[in-house]
Symmetry: C2
Subunit: 325 residues, 2 copies
DNA sequence: CCTTTATGTGTAACCGGTTACACATAAAGT
DNA sequence: ACTTTATGTGTAACCGGTTACACATAAAGG
């Protein structure tokens, strides 16, 4: 391994001077700078981040904690975070917590042990005490909080928009699927939908679900048409479930959107690849990731006028599981 | 920040003793161990990984380099890697290289600068010189190589199986989609399909594509039916493209699988959520990730009898875009 | 009883950077 | 000509761990 000492020796200067050249601070004579640069190139020197991180007590790493990257909503979020974080010269330590508080705590600890400059968390549980003890800049993603800055989409409005669209498109017997109760954003969109429907002249029923996963989605779909066979519109808890419902409806010989209208939530990329293409409420996942990263970096850099939290707008994407006009 | 010194002081011993307790090596008296443990608990001490990493010249991080986590094939891979890597006490530094060699090089450099113990790369380009200069344990994933251990699925066999299935199911005018030429596994499966078809009594045509992305998938689908309107079976370059083709075929009023049979590749989770559900060649993505991580860890630990490379089997998943029997 | 050997603990060097501080010299100000 | 001030460079302390080595004591062996 080539160290700063080797470079110093090669250039015939001290390590301090090499360091000054590397970081472009302090005074360095122009010929000296030249010599050092040449030595760096010659030896293919690349400074060790770990040593720097130890002294500075701060690495150039940012921790990203997700529930599960395997859920199609998260890769986009993650990319948004990564792209923005890279722009500022940081790199990502990634962790999936599943639904395990233990894993979450373990990751938070690792992040801290590695001197990360900050972290972004999109997990559902949130152990306040530990996060507090941390004293690490933290931004929450896809989640609201009183205590920490957060970036999220307007779930309540999303639920409302979905409900409004279905009512306007003539739905009479709407079924609203309620997502897992420990997932906050799931509850927000559910609440938005219920609020809207309650003030309208329509019948609606609520079906509770306890997970978002691919594996269970088909089960929810079957249960839905079993329990509410005559429903003519469904507000799905997310796109995965929405596509499963669509699939099941077709299997039962229903016409989409004539017999049943369906609105998903998230607008994951594959929603536009279903058949018929799924109408949905779009959450700007990539943008949310970017904003969260930006916010975190501003906090890290102690910029003035840092927003406390950022709410991004949602949007109805009308595709082919809802009627036209 | 609580350091080992604080613990030493609190326990009334030297830092060396605390270190011995932490790492459970060297001699430590049982009462002394007790005292140290108590101090650790009391101060909520958590050793700094960076300091350890500097002295040991080795962190507990592993670098994972992917083309793009946003491509639905990769989240599963990543989870496989992460889960296995965690079991062994390591954590992941994640990077997406897109198609950029520069980004790839940058990430490799960062990995090295952070003293990662090893790296797993699933990227398409591979700058041999740099990887060589690295002297970092490296395992390639979803990719073969003469020079490095690799974990991959049997693409050629996959292509063959897909072609065989279609021929057996009565396809007469098969269109084979050729994936981007810089993506090695895409070429393998293509080659497998062509090899099989060449020895059979069927007509087939080849359509070249230059990307795998969602955004372009629809375009390829349109082009396909434009150029080869009378094709009765398609071997898609991957599931995304397969689903887009399915979608387009339905839009054109074709019956699936009666008029057109379609076989995808990868078996990404959402393939079972399409309508009709997509027949495909399954690559065990999660398992591939796990195996790659296992292999890397074995190399790191300098275990004996480490396999050079691991080829995993692919499997035909018959769903509803191919005819029965 | 004396020498080994095993056990327990502390001191200090080390990992590879960064930076405070000392020192030297040149340029600028009075 | 003499003090400031700006510029350039090196020495060594420091970051928070790990470990080689020294040293002390107790147990075991002859």
């Amino acid at each position: 391994m080539v160290t700063i000492k080797d470079v110093a020796q090669e250039a015939g200067v001290s390590v301090a001077t090499v360091s000054r050249v590397l970081n472009d601070n302090g005074y360095v004579g122009s010929e000296t700078r030249e010599k050092v640069m040449k030595a760096i190139t010659k030896l293919k020197y690349s400074p060790n981040e770990v040593a720097r991180s130890l002294y500075k007590r701060e690495s150039r790493l940012i921790g990203l904690l997700l529930p599960d990257i395997t859920n199609p909503f998260f890769p986009q979020l993650a990319r948004g975070v990564e792209d923005e974080v890279n722009r500022a010269g940081y790199r990502l330590l990634l962790g999936n917590s599943d639904e395990s508080i233990q894993k979450e705590l373990d990751y938070i600890q690792t992040f801290a042990q590695n001197n990360v400059v900050g972290m972004i968390s999109a997990t559902n549980y949130l152990d306040h005490e530990l996060y507090e003890a941390l004293a690490l800049p933290l931004v929450l993603l896809d989640r609201t909080s009183e205590d920490y800055p957060a970036v999220y989409a307007d779930g309540r409005e999303g639920g409302r928009i979905a409900a409004k669209a279905l009512v306007e498109k003539g739905a009479k017997r709407i079924t609203v699927m309620k997502g897992p109760s420990h997932i906050k954003p799931a509850q927000d969109r559910f609440r938005g939908a219920i609020e809207y429907l309650s003030q309208e002249e329509v019948d609606f029923s609520v079906m509770s679900t306890t997970s978002y996963s691919f594996e269970d989605a088909r089960g929810w779909a079957e249960e839905l048409f079993d329990k509410y066979a005559d429903t003519d519109a469904v507000i799905a808890s997310n796109d995965i479930v929405g596509i499963a419902i669509l699939h099941e409806a077709l299997r039962l010989g229903k016409q989409i959107p004539e017999d049943v209208q369906i609105i998903g939530y998230d607008d994951i990329p594959q929603s536009s690849l279903s058949y018929p293409t799924l109408s949905t409420i779009r959450q700007p996942a990539y943008e949310m990731g970017k904003q969260a990263a930006k916010l975190l970096i501003n906090i890290i850099r102690k910029e003035q006028e840092v927003e406390r939290s950022i709410q991004l707008p949602v949007e109805l994407i009308e595709r082919n599981t809802t009627r036209k006009g």
